[in-house]
Symmetry: C2
Subunit: 203 residues, 2 copies
């Protein structure tokens, strides 16, 4: 039974879901559980917000540096999200997997689709709101944007909700049930490490 | 998102593994966790042992009654195991699933293969020992049988170990780690209830 002794191959885990569903909060909470996973820090060109730490919340880079990262193939995937670039540093993911650690990506739905296409063996988890109305409310509540941009966000979120079928699992992130959401995601990861036929990802 | 609100369709869960791996102990422990699942009680023609309760550990039935159950199609699956008949009462499983509860079957590897063939949407979990030597030791330790029958059991267990590929998940039941084994099985069940494309079983 050597094949199943110890942990199996590390997983490339994507946590995604529509804008406003609470991906950041869920990932932050997962991080505090002290698990042996690497939480990949996304590179972005958007301005750092108060309370955010460079290298922890995001890698804040200039437009020029971001273009360089694209050209040198340093990004696993990148996209223009509401006028700002976001991308997944390839090296971080590779190092995590090489050291036997699961790599967890927080990524929008469009990016998750790219990951699925390039690495069919990735594990894709879709965070969903309890209802679409709740999602719209959350977006409106936290919005600091112009009505036009808010409307675009709501439209995008509605479109993103339709892509759930491309994912392996769907977890509802209920209001006030953050721990339950995290517990479910962790159960999925435990289960996936016990598959008889493991997912395979080669970067 | 109505599709994922509340629990999904109930699962037909098979916990199997080679003779001697500790299926009974694991299932007994799962039962004490007070979960909303139905643990299906197997019908058997083997004599009741001290400490066993009819209707809880097994349904102890006569050879005649067992033959009748076969003829009337009352069994989902049955097999001759070491000269005794064992079978899964269909009505119990159907009632559990109809009431929205997961149905958990404890079954030998041969029976699990039958279930897989008849209901491809069943969830199959293989309990494995840490090593094959450990399995043999356990069989020898607990054996009250003649050397011949013991040898047959060991041979069968070795054959059973080769069938793991037909299962969805493999969980190692380490000595003294019963709670960890149960936790892993429960994580698998939680995860399976969050699949985007649920398994389907119709009895």
């Amino acid at each position: 039974m050597d094949r199943w002794n110890g942990r199996q191959q590390p997983l490339l885990i994507v946590v995604s879901g529509p804008s406003g569903v609470g991906k950041d909060t869920v990932l932050q909470r997962m991080r505090t559980r002290g698990l042996a996973m690497h939480f990949v820090v996304t590179a972005t060109t958007r301005p750092q917000r108060p309370g955010e730490t460079h290298g922890k919340d995001y890698l804040f880079v200039s437009q020029d540096r971001f273009r360089e990262m694209i050209q040198r193939g340093e990004l696993l995937e990148h996209a223009l999200v509401y006028n700002d670039y976001k991308g997944i540093p390839r090296q971080q993911v590779r190092q995590a997997l090489d050291s036997g650690k699961d790599a967890v990506l927080r990524i929008d739905v469009q990016g998750a689709e790219t990951i699925r296409r390039l690495w069919p063996g990735a594990l894709l988890i879709f965070l969903a709101p309890e209802t679409e109305e709740e999602l719209v409310e959350r977006l409106m509540r936290r919005s600091t944007e112009t009505p036009d941009r808010l409307e675009l966000r709501i439209h995008t979120a509605r479109e993103e909700m339709k892509r759930v079928d491309l994912f392996d699992y769907v977890v509802i992130n209920r209001d006030g049930q953050l721990e339950a959401t995290v517990d479910t995601i962790l159960a999925i990861i435990v289960a996936e490490h016990h598959r008889t036929h493991p997912r395979q990802v080669t970067l």
